[in-house]
Structures are given as C-alpha cells and as structure tokens.
C-alpha cells in the first residue's frame, strides 16, 4: 500500500513536469499552429541563466544564489525575454506560412540556441546545486517523499488554476481562446494578433522557466541538450492528448508521466533502461486506436 502511494506520487510529479511543458507548447500551437521545438531550449536556457557564463567545468551560481522569489522572477524574466525575441525575430516573419514551415523554423531556432549555448558555456554538462534542502524527504503516511515532488505537484496545480482563471476571466485570456478557435474571425472582431501571440509566448516562457527550475533542482545537472527528452515527451503528450486542446495537453502530459512510471515499476530490471522504448511504443499504439488523440478538437482538422 505504501509502495503504491510512492509510485502514485512519482507518477504525478513526473506527469506534472510533462504537463507543464506540453501546456507551454500547446498554448502557442493554439494561437498560431506552431509546434515549438525550441521550447526545450527555453527550458535549458532558464537553467543556464542561474550560473555565470564561462567555459569552466564547475559552474558558479550567480542568479542561483539569490533568494527564491527574486530568483524565480529573474529566471522567468530571462526566459520570457528570450521567448518574445524568438517570436519577433524568427517566428513572426514566417507566421503566415504552412504549419510544417513553422515547425522546421522552430527546429532551426532550437539548433541555433543549443549551439549558441555551447559557444558561451562549453559543451560539457555542469553540476549545479540549486535548493539542496528540497531533496530532503518528509514522512507522509509512512512513506518518505522528497519535498521537491510535493512542491512540483503543488506548483503545477497552482499554475493550472491560474491559467484557467487567466484564460476564462481576463480580456486577453478570452482573446487568446478566441484566437485559437478561429484566428481570422477573432482578428475581424478586433483581437490584435501581435498582442495575443506575444502574450502566448510570454506565458509559455513563464511555464518553461518554472519547468527549468524544477528540473535543475531535481537533476542538479545543466547540459545543452537537457530540454530535448522533455520536449520530445511533451510533443508526444500533445498528440496523445489531442492537438489544439489545452486540457488535452495537460491530460496527455500526465498520461505520459504515469505510463513512464508504471513501466519503470513493472518492467524487469534488465529491461528498465529501455523504458522509453515502451513508452513510445505505447504512444504509437494509442495513436493507432485513436488517431485524433484523447480530446478531439474540431477546429484543428487540417485544411489545405
């Protein structure tokens, strides 16, 4: 029984990270049909923002030593500025192009950002010690759970509530939802395209910053490709959840996290390194049975 609780919390914590990442990708997909591969690099750069830029093998914390509220604000600011700059310089010029052109643009941007980070920080992974206190376990119903996992789940729930309120209750949030339904119609009714898209990128940037802090606190490692596995699973989560649905992205994120943890538990030890193979295979199976994803969105059916 205690074992089951442990597994459930592991699954929820991992699912939370995937859900936040998938949500960051889903928000932008909603307003401009862009699948942002560079989202993983936003996460990665959020992590690198903590340290002093150098090629040194050991990282020196810079923003990382600040008090938590200031630290979160500073990292969010860096990632939001990066997201806005990407939108302005790379994505706006190709905005009216086909979704596949947008996707490949984000791929190019991702390649650019990764190699820029390698040039500034060097290609080797670096150890950082962010908030070591969070790895201490607390006792919950007889199970030792790291505080970080509780924090991850709590932060995710709070952000989801905020996001729902933002999308349903604020004018700009309503405009964003209108834009994801039908961008052209929304514009005709006075929604300003540049503003809505910029806000979507900013919110997505905040989500990326939060994910990068949670991730760095957990793994303690910075590397230029740390965002890649995350973004791959988040992509898959958006497809499994149903492209274009934010609820679907969250659901898909949790589903992928839960399936990963379940495979981690049930697979024989020899097979565990191959866990991701099973997760990807499972996803292909879901798509075979339900090609539209868990939540079907009508306005997304692709048209020429």
């Amino acid at each position: 029984m205690t074992n089951l609780l442990q597994v459930a919390i592991d699954a929820l914590a991992l699912g939370s990270i995937y859900a936040l990442t998938a949500l960051g990708i889903g928000l932008i997909f909603g307003v401009m049909r862009l699948i942002n591969f560079a989202h993983g690099d936003f996460i990665m750069i959020g992590g690198y923002a903590l340290i002093v830029p150098s090629w040194a093998a050991t990282a020196t914390l810079f923003i990382g030593t600040w008090p938590a509220p200031l630290l979160v604000a500073a990292v969010s600011l860096v990632v939001v500025l990066l997201a806005l700059a990407s939108e302005r310089l790379a994505f706006r010029p190709v905005r009216s192009a086909a979704p596949s052109v947008l996707l490949i643009t984000s791929f190019a941007l991702s390649y650019f950002l990764e190699n820029a980070v390698i040039m500034v920080y060097g290609g080797r992974a670096k150890a950082v010690n962010l908030w070591p206190g969070l790895m201490e376990p607390i006792l919950l119903a007889g199970v030792r759970i790291p505080k970080l996992q509780i924090l991850t789940i709590a932060v995710t729930l709070v952000l989801l509530v905020f996001l729902v309120v933002f999308l349903k209750r604020t004018p700009i949030g309503v405009a964003m939802r209108a834009a994801s339904e039908d961008f052209r119609m929304a514009r005709l009714l006075g929604v300003r395209a540049n503003r809505v898209i910029a806000v979507a990128f900013a919110v997505s940037g905040v989500l990326a910053a939060v994910v990068s802090l949670l991730l760095v606190a957990q793994t303690g490692v910075l590397s230029f490709h740390m965002g890649v596995p995350l973004v791959l699973f988040a992509f898959v989560a958006t497809v499994v959840g149903g492209m274009g649905s934010l609820a679907g992205a969250v659901l898909g994120g949790f589903a992928v996290g839960i399936v990963s943890v379940i495979f981690q538990v049930i697979l024989p030890i020899d097979w565990r390194p191959n866990r991701d193979v099973w997760v990807y295979g499972m996803i292909l199976l879901v798509l075979l049975l339900r090609p539209t994803g868990l939540v079907k969105v009508k306005s997304i059916e692709e048209r020429a």
């Binding site: 979704p99 052109v101 390649y111 390698i118 390194p273 994803g293």
Partner: protein
C-alpha cells in the same frame, strides 16, 4: 513508336540525367586534383545527398515533414555491420545469433539486405503513423526516432550500446557514393513520375480534392515512406563502410536537423532541390569549417570560434525560411530546354482564347 525515340527518352529522364552529368563531372574534377582530404569531404557530402534524396521521396512528395528518418539510417548502418563484420571480430564485440555470427555477406547484397530491413521496419511503424494528420505524423516520426535511439543505445549485445562499433570493412569512396546518388536520383524521379508519386503529390496539394478523386492517402504515403526508408538506410550503409566505425549517438537530432535543413534550403518540392540543397549547405559548412581551422590571408590568420559552423547552418536555414520559404529551387525541376524547336503547328493558336478582359492589359 513515338515514345521510344531517343530524344523522347532523354526528355523523359532529363532532370536526373542533368544532375548525374553535373555531379559526375564534378567528382571527376575532384578526382583529377588527387587531393585526398577534399575527396573525403566530397564523399561525405555525396553520402548526405543519398540521405536527402531519400528524405525527399517522402517529405517532398507527401508534404509531411518527418523527423524520424534517421532511425532508418541507423538501422541500415548497424544491419550492414552485422552482415559484413569479419566473423572473428563479431564474436569478440557482439553476441549475435548463429546465422549472423557465423556468416559474412558480400558488400552489395549486404547493402540491399540492410536497406530492405529498414524498409520493413518503416512498413510496420508506418501503418499507424500514416493514419495521422500532417503535424501529428511529424511528431509521431520523432517518437519513432526516440524509440529506436533509446533501444539501440541499450541493446549492447547487438550494437555495443553507447560505445563505438569499430572494424567495419571500408570500401566506400567518391565513386561508390556517386553511384548510389545516381541510383537514388533515378528511382526518386521514376517514383515521382509514376501514378503513385502523382497521387501522393496530388494529396500534398489538396488533401480533400485528392480524397474526393479516390486517392487512398494512407496507402500512398505508406508507399513513399517505405521507399524513402530504403535510401535512408543505404545512406547509413555507406556511412558505415566509409568511416569503418559507427556509434548510436551519431544518428540523433544533429544529423536529423542537418539532413532536413539541406532539403528545405534546396526546396523540398523537387528532386533538383534535394540535390542543390545538399550541395549548397555542404559548401557553406566546408567554408565555415576552413574558417574555424583558420585561413591564412596575406600573413594574418583569420579564424572564427568553434561552433560557428553549426550557428551558420541554423542561420542560413532561418534566413531561407524567412525570405524564400520554398527553398532555392522553389520546388522546380530542371526543365527540358528545347520546347521551342517543336513545329509551330503543334501549338494551339495563340489568339484563340483571348478574352476581352485579358486583352485590355
């Protein structure tokens, strides 16, 4: 038999023929210089060209991006290692089943068998993926790459896991690579002119109209996917027998990105684009590499920091996407240039359909 007249045949295969002649003369010039380093660079570029033509067969004709194709390159590279490694070396490095461990295939049959294996895998994973819409299919192919990458990294008995697998017989040079480029170009062209290629291109232009005309898009995409996997695997086979060693980590996102970038830069809509893009990007990369090493310009060493090459490719790609989203060739092929020599009587009369409106301007 009008269709068998020599000029008709030349005209029908004009695009791959021009590409072949151009590439062959280029390779002949490089061979004549006797520069071994340059020859290796060109061989590398020609192997990439096989990959990009393979990508073109699927992406170009279907309009669906695929980020998973490098999985087939990896499958091809490892398969040919299983087939052609000397028996003694195999027994030391890998734990293969008896039928593989105790045999050694000649090079060409091994290449064909490896590529056929990749095609078979493409058929199996393609069945569910081709049911998806464009973007979802692209992401699902990425999942396929992730799946095989993880699997091969951990499948130590067959792949030596994360370590490099050495000792693969080396036989690929510029001419062998060129030969496969030519084969790939002619097959890609034949496919795109066939009824299957035509049906798939129709679905790329207008999915709903194509469906209404009775085209089974799923089946057409699947055919292209399987054919395309064949040449991506051939690229992997060539890579393995060119370098003599392979490692799983070389078949991941960097190679995916560079090969897709080559196709997009050249223009994903045409075979000419695939070839042009590979050539242009290879030249840019080589020039930037020279600058990274340092160039002596009248006594002063001009050098750019390491990593400029990668930033350069990404930047070129972004600029092409922004200013010329359909690539250098804009999806056009090299055209038969002699149409004006046709007798005038075969042309429709020029002024037959001039409407009053068009005559105003």
């Amino acid at each position: 038999m009008d269709s068998l007249r020599p000029t008709r045949i030349v005209q029908a295969i004009w695009t791959p023929l021009v590409l072949t002649v151009a590439l062959t003369s280029f390779v002949a010039v490089i061979a004549a210089t006797g520069d071994g380093v340059l020859a290796r660079t060109v061989t590398d570029a020609l192997i990439r060209m096989v990959l990009v033509i393979g990508l073109y067969i699927f992406i170009g004709n279907s309009g669906v991006l695929s980020f998973g194709h490098i999985a087939f390159t990896m499958i091809g590279a490892y398969a040919t290692a299983w087939f052609t490694l000397p028996v003694l070396r195999k027994s030391i490095a890998l734990q293969l089943p008896a039928f593989l461990a105790e045999s050694q295939l000649p090079m060409i049959p091994s290449a064909i068998a490896s590529a056929a294996l990749a095609s078979l895998v493409a058929l199996v994973v393609g069945v569910p993926i081709m049911r998806l819409g464009g973007i979802a299919a692209s992401i699902a192919t990425l999942a396929v790459l992730g799946m095989f990458y993880t699997f091969y990294t951990n499948w130590a008995a067959w792949t030596m896991g994360a370590a490099t697998l050495p000792g693969i017989p080396i036989y690929v040079n510029m001419w062998v690579a060129l030969g496969w480029v030519v084969v790939a170009a002619f097959v890609a062209f034949a496919y795109q002119q066939s009824r299957f290629g035509l049906a798939l291109r129709a679905s790329r232009e207008d999915e709903f109209a194509a469906r209404a005309s009775g085209i089974n898009i799923w089946a057409q995409r699947l055919i292209a996917f399987v054919l395309s996997a064949f040449f991506l695997a051939i690229g992997g086979v060539l890579q393995a027998h060119f370098l003599g060693s392979i490692a799983v980590k070389n078949f991941w996102l960097a190679l995916t990105f560079v090969s897709v970038a080559m196709l997009i830069v050249g223009g994903q809509g045409s075979l000419t684009g695939a070839v042009t893009g590979t050539a242009v990007v290879s030249i840019i990369v080589e020039v930037l590499r020279q600058f990274e090493v340092g160039i002596d310009f009248r006594g002063t060493l001009i050098q750019v920091p390491l990593g400029t090459r990668e930033l350069g490719i990404a930047l070129v790609m972004l600029l092409i996407l922004i200013f010329r989203p359909r690539g250098i060739t804009m999806g056009r092929e090299i055209q038969w240039p002699f149409h004006s020599r046709q007798p005038l009587t075969e042309r429709p009369p020029r002024d037959a359909h001039v409407s009053p409106i068009s005559s105003l301007d």
